[in-house]
Amino acid sequence: MLILYILTGILLLFSACFNLKKTFMALKIAWKKLINILPAFILTMIAVSIVLHFVPDTFISKSLQGGNKYLSSALASVLGSIVLMPGFVAYPLCGVLLKKGVSYMTISAFSVTLMMVGVLTLPIEKEYFGIKVALIRNIISFLIAVIISLAAGIIYREIF
């Protein structure tokens, strides 16, 4: 995260050295875009805060440890689509579950939908691309996640 700010700072400085006017314009664009999307953003964070309260980590790890691989993978892909979690929370959780014997198929179903599918972030996505694109993109991403999960299951000899 620090690297990101150092990089941004250096680029800004460079930009300012070459053309002060353009740099101010860039900052203005940045500010306008940020303000435009902020309401949708806060709304999403509100949804996340509520959903995470009712679907805590403990619930997720319990559901992913179910006996039936197919069933828990299906559940994992649904949970992954809904929940929003930063990688530094999600991957350690997946690592722990893996050690507890959860299949790679289930783990990938969860982690890939978590990254690619965002039901809670739909309001933001809709704001940028319209509802139709947002919906279709999410559905296709879900299908990709299912394929990856099945492939992982086959490669790790968990199914077939």
Partner: protein
């Protein structure tokens, strides 16, 4: 502003609910408030510099440059650029949306835009390193090798579909 009124009302109600919860010690409300705070902080860390970078991009990068490498004339290079750019995107899907809009405005074609969005969900380099350290390098490599072709194929299909419908991204 008008279309945001409903959003502000919901945000207001939520704020009142949190205030009520903290004053009257409602356990659920306090938990939800803590969740909100945690995730908001996480986002506030990334957003300002992400948007400043987008601003700099819009001001400095010439339209012709993007058009040439990611536009309708480019065949495969657009996808490679999209994946490489996505690899260095911070924040994942959420920050990829505004970047995608900027790329589109500079002349990138729709299929490349879709490829960029999906790739920034699954091909971010820092995230892949993190994933490999918890789930093993083998898993990460398998996942990348299966997902990248799928992402490219689906992006081409999606891009063609919306191109045919003469879809345009009109937002800011």
């Amino acid at each position: 502003m008008k279309k945001n009124i409903l959003k502000f009302i919901i945000i207001g109600i939520y704020g009142l609910f949190l205030a009520y919860s903290f004053i009257f010690n409602n356990k659920h409300g306090i938990e939800i408030g803590k969740n909100f705070y945690l995730y908001m902080i996480e986002m506030i860390k990334v957003l300002p510099s992400a948007f400043i970078l987008i601003g700099l991009f819009e001001v400095w990068i010439k339209k012709e440059t993007v058009e040439k490498h990611m536009g309708s004339g480019s065949v495969f290079s657009g996808f490679i650029w999209a994946i490489l750019l996505a690899g260095t995107t911070v924040g994942g899907l959420l920050t990829s949306f505004p970047v995608a809009v900027s790329l589109y405005k500079k002349g990138a074609k729709l299929s490349v835009i879709f490829c960029y969005i999906s790739s920034s969900a699954i091909c971010r380099i820092p995230m892949a390193v993190f994933e490999a350290s918890f789930l093993g390098l083998k898993f990460t490599l398998i996942r990348l090798m299966i997902s990248i072709p799928l992402v490219i194929i689906s992006s081409i299909l999606l891009g063609n579909y919306f191109e045919k419908k003469e879809f345009k991204i009109i937002n800011n």
